[in-house]
Symmetry: C2
Subunit: 212 residues, 2 copies
DNA sequence: TCCTGTTTGTGAAACTGTTCACAAGTGGAA
DNA sequence: TTCCACTTGTGAACAGTTTCACAAACAGGA
């Protein structure tokens, strides 16, 4: 009975992404209904967790039956903002930036990389896929012209903060950061960090403990 | 006064990685002591958080002065298991795998990618940097021969689980997963997932809320 | 219609992580 | 030596998240 008016816990939102992925698998397999326990088993969590998560969105499961795959898929797409196209700018066309650019599932989910910025003179003017790489000096105009919603940062740590300050000043409200540095930005800008070093080191911590 | 015998919260361990990064910057700048507030400001957290985190490791700050950069660096390296070399196998030499392989900071931190596995016949036998790519059928022998500590999964979701089952059976106890699927594995195997879709979708959720 | 087996939705309890607030050290100046 | 400005370490309060447990709803069969 918990409705849209309330804020949804961040931990739950992240699981929604996973649930949606599994529901799409089920949909492809022609499965029409799915119980919380099935979704839980697939996602490495518990049935109670799944039900609690979904209860933040309202209540549209059928007792005794489970959830309609089609309906739940639709609701999750809506909540995750996947019912519209998001225009994405990629800052940095190095190895990581290029790998991200070519990652197909982005486009399938409605994330269109329409802008690529790099400061290497050898790259400016060349194409990455169907996008022409532009120089850093064009950042603001590119973000504006392309009506960018969201920025992915894949530049060296040393230049990331300065670039992001400009991005925020240009009105962008969502940043996905791959640079190995903690960006500081206003509270009303959504930021997510992805760091392979942090994950790796948390693993080596676990391993080191095991060894003792 | 909290000593090594206790388990350290996962959230704290992940912040240790960040603290260490900043401490290394400070060390390079010749700064010898650092207060919790300074570390906090750099890492986008609070002074109390920093002190609480560090208290899990013992107590070696000096009241009125802060922490010795050199000492703290050493302690964090130890806790994160960075005082030895870890031998890493990379499964999947596609775009993401290749980008990971070439990511220099790994090696600097003591993570040596000694094994690369791919099932593309066109790639088997070719080299990636100084490592020869081997076929999937050699997985077990490669892990054994190279005395692998840790495995990075960068293969398509469809084949990830089967491959990881073999990896676990071969005795590996730490897995870093880039495949967009939730791997199921025994409780005594440490697993970390890195998913750009989850992060992106959590951003688009935030944006979609903003729009309402 | 009634019974049975299944599954949801949700308060309450348990747990985990974060923030607060302050006594207790510390170095340096007077 | 005494004082002062500063900073740690840590219980306690608080906030957020997960798990538990069970009444209520439903489908299908007898």
């Amino acid at each position: 009975m918990n409705s849209f008016t309330n804020r949804i816990p961040d931990a739950a939102v992240r699981r929604f992404s996973l649930y949606l992925r599994y529901l799409e698998d089920f949909e492809r397999s022609g499965i029409r209904n799915v119980a919380s326990g099935v979704l839980a088993e697939r996602g490495g969590t518990t049935a109670a967790q799944v039900r609690k998560d979904l209860s933040f969105l309202g209540s549209f499961g059928k007792r005794g039956l489970g959830y309609s795959v089609a309906e739940l898929t639709g609701v999750l797409r809506g909540v995750l903002g996947l019912d519209s196209v998001w225009r994405v700018a990629l800052l940095g066309a190095g190895r990581i930036g290029t790998a991200l650019f070519r990652y197909e599932p982005f486009r399938a989910r409605g994330f269109h990389i329409t802008t690529v910025i790099d400061n290497d003179p050898g790259k400016i003017g060349t194409r990455l896929g169907d996008v022409t790489i532009r120089g850093e000096h064009e950042l603001e105009s590119a973000l504006q012209d392309d009506r960018t919603d969201l920025v992915i940062v894949a530049v060296p740590a040393a230049v990331a903060q300065a670039l992001v300050d400009r991005v925020v000043a240009a009105g962008i409200r969502a940043v996905l950061n791959y640079a190995p540095t903690q960006l500081r930005l206003p509270g009303d800008v959504a930021l997510r960090n992805v760091s392979m070093m942090v994950e790796l080191e948390s693993l080596s911590h676990a391993l080191a403990r095991l060894r003792r």
